[in-house]
Amino acid sequence: MNNKEYKGVFVFVEQVEGIIARVSFELIGKGRELAKELNTQVTAVLLGDQVEPLTKQLATFGADRVVMVNDSALAIYMNEPYVRAMQAVVESYQPEVVLYGATAIGRDLAPRVSARVHTGLTADCTKLEVQEETNHLVMTRPAFGGNIMAAILCPEHRPQMATVRPGVMKCCEAREGAECVVEDFSVEGLADGKNVEILEVLKKVSEKMDIMDAKVLVAGGRGMGCSENFTMLNELAEALGGTVAASRAAVDAGWQEKACQVGQTGKTVRPNLYIACGISGAIQHLAGMEESDLIIAINKDETAPIFEFADYGVVGDVCKIIPLLTHAIKLCRA
C-alpha cells in the first residue's frame, strides 16, 4: 500500500485502573499540532475494560476521535493482548503516525507492535516535527547515552511510530465540554495468551509528592555520602515548598527510592528551581533536568561537569552549606 494512503495521527492512551497517564494527554496535545500540519485529525486509542467513562477526558484534552477497544482481556496491562489490539487498530485504520508514552508500558508495547506490523519505531523522542517537502515525521532523540542528538526518519514504512517520555510535550488547554466521536472497535481472540499469567499485582506505596509535579526540587547525589544526610535536603525542600529528588547513584546506593530518580533511566523534570547537591552532573543525569528554569549546583569537586551547566555553582562542602542555607531561607520568610 502506498504511503500516501496512510492518514491520521493516533495516540495510544495509557490507563491503569481507570486513571489516564498524564503523558497520554501530553501526546494528544502534540498529536493535535502534528495533525494540523498533516491536514488530518488526532485519534486517541483507548484500550481497557469498561473504559467508556474515560472518553470524555480525552475529548477535553484535544482528541478529535476516540477508538475504544473494550475487552475484559485488557483489564490489566499484559503484553500480548495489548499488542494484538493495537495491531488490529493500526491495520484497520492505517494511521500515518502512532505515538506512545515512553513508560514501562509503552516501551514494552510499542516495540512489539512495530515489529508485528513491520515498521519503524523511534524511542524517547524529545522533538517531533513534520518535514516540509516530504511530510515525513522527523523524530529527534538523544543517542549515545544522551551525549548527542539524532534526527530520525522512517521514510518507507508506515505508520511512523515514536515513543515520547513523560514531561517532554505539553498538554493542550482543556476544552471544557468538548465532545468527540467515539468508535467502538472489537478485536477477536484477545484472551488467547502466550502462556503468560499475572500471579499478583504489588503496589509501591509512596506518600511523597511526585517529583514531576514539584516546582522546586532539591536533588542529592553520591556526594551526600549517606542516607541520613538526605534529611537536610528534606528540610531545605520543605523551606522552599518543594520535594527531594535523587541521582541514579543515590538510588542505586539505596538512599532514596526509584520514584525520586532524575535522569536518563529515571524521570524527566522541569521545575522552576533545581538544586543539585553532591551531584557530579553526568550526561545521563542532565538529560533528566536540563530544562529546569534555574539550576544551582553545590559540589566539593570544582571539576564536576555540573558546573558547566549550572546557572549558579558553589564549590564547597554540601553538608555544611545546606543547613546554613535552609536556616537563612527560613529567616527571610519569617
Binding site: P111, E197, V201, L202, L325
Partner: protein, 264 residues
C-alpha cells in the same frame, strides 16, 4: 535447561564528556564494556547454572572486537559463545538487529534447544529498549520486560516485572524471553581460572552472513525502516557563575541569588 543470553559491547557512555569549548564529544580513552543491563542478565543465567546446571550460551552482534566482551562472559562462567559479525549486518536499526539476532538464536536453538532467552532492558549507547521485545516477536515468543527479580519454577519463569508505581509477578512458560534490569543482581567477577578457560577451552563461534538464514531485506542499513537523518551535539548551555567561599558566605550568596530571582 538451555539459556541464551544476548550481550552487547558498548562504550562506557557514563565516562564520555563534552568538550565545553567545542561542544564535541571526547571519545578517546572511553573503555568498552559489557552493557550493564546485559551483564545483569548474564549473572541471572549463571545463577540458574549454579542452581540447576543450566547451559549458558552468550550471543553478541557486533564488530570483531566484540570477541572481548564474549570472552569476559565466558570467563564469568558462560559455556559457549557466538559472535554474529559481518559487514552486511552493519548500520542496523532495532528491526534489523533483532531480525539478525533472532535468526542466530533460531540456529542455536536448532542445535541445542532454547528454554529461556535473556536480554538487557536497554543498551547505554542506543537506549531504545526495543531489541529484546522485537527478538521475542520475530521468534513468536512471549517477552517479559523490566525484570527486577527472576526465578525458575518447573518449566516456567517467574518474574517481578517493574512498572513506575507497582510490580506484576508474572509467570511465563518456557520458551520465552525476559529483559533484565541492572537492579536484578550484582554480577560476579571473572576468576583467573575463568579467564584462562575462556581463551583456551571455550569456543567463540562466528556467524557471518552466509551462516544465517535471514532475508536480505531484514538486515543491515538497507533492512532498517528507520534511519538517522542527521546527528548533532546539543547546544552548549553556557557556564553560569561559580563561586568558592566559606560555608556561611556561600549560603548567604545563594540566598541573594534566590531573592534576585524572586524565589524567596
Amino acid at each position: 535447561m538451555n539459556i541464551v543470553v544476548c550481550v552487547k559491547q558498548v562504550p562506557d557512555t557514563t565516562e564520555v564528556r563534552l568538550n565545553p569549548e567545542t561542544g564535541t564529544l571526547i571519545r578517546d580513552g572511553v573503555p568498552s564494556i559489557i552493557n550493564p543491563d546485559d551483564k545483569a542478565g548474564l549473572e541471572a543465567a549463571l545463577r540458574l547454572k549454579d542452581q540447576y546446571g543450566a547451559r549458558v550460551i552468550v550471543v553478541s552482534m557486533g564488530p570483531m572486537q566484540a570477541d572481548d566482551a564474549l570472552r569476559e562472559a565466558l570467563a564469568m562462567g558462560a559455556d559457549e559463545a557466538f559472535l554474529v559479525s559481518d559487514r552486511a549486518f552493519g548500520g542496523a536499526d532495532t528491526w534489523a538487529t533483532s531480525s539478525t539476532l533472532a535468526s542466530a538464536i533460531r540456529k542455536i536453538g536448532d542445535l541445542a534447544g532454547v528454554d529461556l532467552i535473556i536480554t538487557g532492558r536497554q543498551a547505554i549507547d542506543g537506549d531504545t529498549a526495543q531489541v529484546g521485545p522485537q527478538i521475542a516477536e520475530h521468534l513468536g515468543l512471549a517477552n517479559i520486560s523490566y525484570a527486577e527479580e527472576l526465578k525458575v519454577e518447573g518449566n516456567a519463569v517467574i518474574v517481578k516485572r517493574q512498572f513506575e508505581d507497582r510490580y506484576h509477578m508474572i509467570k511465563a512458560a518456557f520458551p520465552c524471553l525476559v529483559t533484565a534490569l541492572s537492579e536484578l543482581n550484582v554480577p560476579r567477577y571473572m576468576t583467573p581460572g575463568g579467564i584462562m578457560d575462556a581463551y583456551r577451552n571455550k569456543k567463540v563461534t562466528i556467524f557471518s552472513r552466509a551462516d544465517l538464514d535471514v532475508e536480505e531485506g531484514n538486515i543491515g542499513l538497507k533492512g532498517s525502516p528507520t534511519r538517522v537523518f542527521k546527528s548533532f551535539t546539543k547546544a552548549v548551555k553556557g557556564k553560569g557563575t561559580v563561586i568558592r567561599l566559606d560555608a556561611a558566605e556561600s549560603a548567604d550568596w545563594l540566598v541573594e541569588r534566590l531573592q534576585e530571582k524572586f524565589i524567596i
